[in-house]
Point group: C2
Chain length 401, copies 2
C-alpha cells in the first residue's frame, strides 16, 4: 500500500507568453507534492511527465487502491527518489487532458471551449509554466529536475532556460530532438485523428462526439514504438487468440474473455482465415490498448503533445550544434538509456553526453541492458533502479535534512 | 528506353481449392512474359510480387514511356535476369487490384461485386494458382522462382509445394514468417481501413465511395517501415517544408509547389506552430505517398495481402521447427538480405539459411550493406546487382540456349 496523494490546483491570472507568439492567461496547473520541503528549501525535485501521464506521479488517491501514480515504483518513502528526504513535485502540463488547462476548457475571452484554438505549446513553454509554479511555491532552486522520454526533454530544457534554478538534471530515455522517423510516426497518428470525420477540425466537443477511431489508431501506433521487437515476440510472438475452432466461429467469446473451455491450445487451432476478426494475440492487445486510450485521452491534447515533441530541438538556434546549445547548462547530469529502446535509442542519449562533455560538464551516464524497449523507463529493473537510487542518494547528501 | 511489354490474361473456369476451405472459380490471372521459351522449355523464371506490385515486372507499355515495370532495373535484355537468355513470367496474384480477379470483380454465382466476400487467399494459394498458369503455358519445370519481400515468401513456398517443378529459388529481403511487430503494423493499417466510415464493411463499391482516409494511413505506416531510420534522416532529417514566414501563413503554397521565391531557406524559417499544417518535409512526403496510394489501391486488396503476409508460416505445421519444414525443399537457393532492413532483417534470412544448411541443401547467401532499408531490394546497388547477375549467369549455364 502506497501513501496517499492529494491533487492540488494553482490558478495563474497573468498571461504566459508562448514560443509561438501567442499567450495563455487565466490558466490552472494541476500538481501534487510528496514529502516535506526542508527549512532552506533546497530539497525540491521536479518530475516532468511524458505523453500519456500527469501530475499524479506517485502514491494513490484516498479510497482508490489501484490508483498508483505513473512512477510510483521510482518515487516514494524509501524508494530511489526518497520522499522521506526530498520534496517531490509533479505538475501536469498545459494542454493536457488530466487537470491543467487544456483544449477541453473554456477560453477566458469567449467562454467557449478552446478545442483546436488552444495555442500550440512547446517544451519551453511548459518549463516556463513550471518555473512560475515554483515561484508560487516559494522554491528558488531545485535540487533536481527529473523526467523520462518527453519528460527528459523538459529536464534538459530546464538546464538551458533556468540554469541557476537547479543543481541536477536527470534525463531518462530521452533525446536532443526527434528523428525523421520519430516525426513520421507522430504525423501518421495525427493524420488518423485529424481525418476522423468525428474530429470536426478539432471542435468535436460542440458536436457531442469524440474522434475515437483516430485515437485508437494513434495509440496502436504509439504502442508499437514503445515496445521492443524482442519483447513483443516474447510476450505475443505469433500466438493465436483465444482458442476456438472455425466451426464455432459464430460463438467467438467476447474480446478479453478467457479461453473457451475444451478448445485446442491457441497455437494448435486452425487459422480463422479472416481479414477483420482478431486472429493473433498481438492484434487483441493492440485493439484493447487503443479502445482504452480512446475512452480517456483527448484528441486535441494528442496533437499538441506530439507537436511539442516534434518541435523540441535546442540545437536549432545554434546551427544544429548541440555542444554550443548546451553551453548554457550548468547543472550536473545523470543520463540513462536502454539498449532495446528504438524510439529514443542510446545513441541519442550519447549525443547529449558528448555535447555536455565537450562543455566540460559533470555527467554520469548509464546504458541499461533491458529488453523492454522505450517502456523500460517506467519498469522495474534492478540495475536501473540502482543507478537512480545511488544518484539521488548523492544529491541527498548535498541537502540539509 | 526499355522493351515493350504486353499484358495478357488467362481464364481459369475450374475451382481452385483454397487453404481456408473456400474455393475460387471462373477467375482470371493477368500475366506478362519477356524473352523466349527455349526448345526444351527449361529457361523459364517466375517472378512473384510483393504488396504493391503486379505482373508488370519489366519493360514499358507501348506509347507509355514512364510505365517501367517494378523490377525493370533487374530484369530485361542484358540485365541481371537476362531476358535474352531466360523466359521470364510475371503474374498478378489473386485478390490484387491490378488485373487478376479480386474483390472489385463480380462473384460468378451472384453477379455481384465480391467486396468483403472475396475469400482470404494465402501465399500457398497464390503458388497453386501460379502452378496452374504454368500448366497452361506448357512449362513443367522452372529454372527459378524469384521474389522479394512477400514475393520471396512465394518463392520459398514454391520449394515446399512443388519441389520437383523448380531448380532454383531466389529469395530476396524476405522472412520465414512475420514477427509480432510485423503483424502489429499490418493490423494498425487494417484497422485504419476497416474503421473508415467509407469502408462499409468492405462493400464500399455499392455505396460509390472509397475508404481513402484509411488507405492513406495504411500507406503512411507502410512507408515508414520500408525505409531505414538512417535514410529517412539523410533524405528528410528535420528539414522544414517550403519556406514561408508565419506572417504569410494565409498564402502557403499548395502542397507540392516549389519554394516561395524570396523566402528564407526552409531550415532557417521559424516554425509555423501548428498541429495540422505541414511543418516538416517528412510529413509532406508521407502525405503525398498516402494520397497517391489511396487513388489507385483497393482497400479490400490491402486487407487480403497483409493477411496473406501474417498467415505465411511454413514451420507452423512442423511445431515451429523451420528445419523440419524445409526438409521437402530440393531447390538450390540464393538468399539476399540488406543490413538496414528492419522490416525483414538479415536475421530472418539467416534463419532460412540455417534451416536449409541443417538439411544439407545448396545455399548461397549475400548480406548487402545498403542504407535504404527494406526498399533496397527494389533499388540499384552494385553489389546486390552483381550477386544477382552472377547467380543467374550460373543458372543460364545449366540451360540449353
Amino acid at each position: 500500500m502506497s501513501f496517499i496523494a492529494t491533487p492540488q490546483t494553482m490558478h495563474f491570472p497573468d498571461a504566459l507568453p508562448l514560443q509561438s507568439g501567442a499567450s495563455l492567461r487565466d490558466y490552472h496547473l494541476a500538481y501534487e507534492t510528496y514529502g516535506t520541503l526542508n527549512a532552506d528549501r533546497s530539497n525540491a525535485v521536479l518530475v516532468c511527465h511524458a505523453l500519456n501521464a500527469s501530475h499524479h506521479v506517485a502514491g494513490v488517491y484516498a479510497g482508490q487502491d489501484k490508483s498508483e501514480g505513473w512512477w510510483d515504483n521510482m518515487i516514494g518513502p524509501g524508494k530511489p527518489v526518497d520522499t522521506d528526504r526530498f520534496f517531490v513535485i509533479g505538475v501536469n502540463n498545459l494542454g493536457s487532458c488530466f487537470g491543467s488547462t487544456g483544449p477541453m476548457h473554456n477560453h477566458p475571452d469567449t467562454g467557449e471551449v478552446y478545442g483546436a484554438d488552444f495555442p500550440v505549446v512547446t517544451v519551453e513553454d511548459w518549463v516556463d509554466a513550471q518555473a512560475r509554479l515554483l515561484d508560487r511555491l516559494g522554491i528558488q532552486q531545485l535540487a533536481a529536475v527529473l523526467g523520462g522520454s518527453l519528460g527528459g526533454m523538459q529536464a534538459l530544457s530546464w538546464t538551458l532556460q533556468y540554469p541557476e534554478r537547479m543543481r541536477h538534471a536527470v534525463v531518462v530515455a530521452s533525446a536532443p530532438n526527434l528523428t525523421a522517423e520519430n516525426i513520421a510516426f507522430n504525423e501518421v497518428a495525427r493524420r488518423a485523428i485529424v481525418t476522423d470525420p468525428d474530429f470536426h477540425g478539432g471542435h468535436f466537443y460542440r458536436h457531442g462526439v469524440i474522434p475515437k477511431r483516430g485515437l485508437r489508431i494513434a495509440r496502436m501506433i504509439g504502442h508499437i514504438t514503445y515496445l521492443s521487437d524482442d519483447v513483443m515476440n516474447e510476450k505475443f510472438g505469433r500466438s493465436l487468440r483465444a482458442p476456438t475452432l472455425p466451426a464455432s466461429r459464430g460463438s467467438l467469446p467476447p474480446e478479453g474473455a478467457g479461453p473457451a473451455r475444451g478448445g485446442p491450445a491457441p497455437d494448435l487451432r486452425d487459422y480463422l482465415y479472416s481479414t477483420q476478426d482478431i486472429e493473433f494475440q498481438i492484434e487483441s492487445y493492440l485493439r484493447y490498448q487503443g479502445d482504452k486510450f480512446s475512452d480517456y485521452f483527448d484528441a486535441n491534447t494528442y496533437l499538441l503533445i506530439t507537436r511539442a515533441l516534434d518541435y523540441f530541438d535546442p540545437a536549432r538556434t545554434h546551427g544544429g550544434n548541440l555542444t554550443r546549445a548546451l553551453a548554457r547548462a550548468t547543472a550536473k547530469f545523470l543520463l540513462v538509456s536502454f539498449t532495446t529502446d528504438w524510439r529514443f535509442s542510446p545513441q541519442r542519449s550519447r549525443e547529449i553526453v558528448k555535447a555536455l562533455l565537450d562543455n566540460r560538464r559533470s555527467v554520469s551516464y548509464a546504458e541499461i541492458d533491458a529488453p523492454h524497449g522505450h517502456d523500460a523507463f517506467l519498469l522495474d529493473d534492478a540495475r536501473y533502479m540502482g543507478v537512480m537510487r545511488s544518484y539521488f542518494d548523492s544529491i541527498a547528501k548535498e541537502v540539509q535534512p
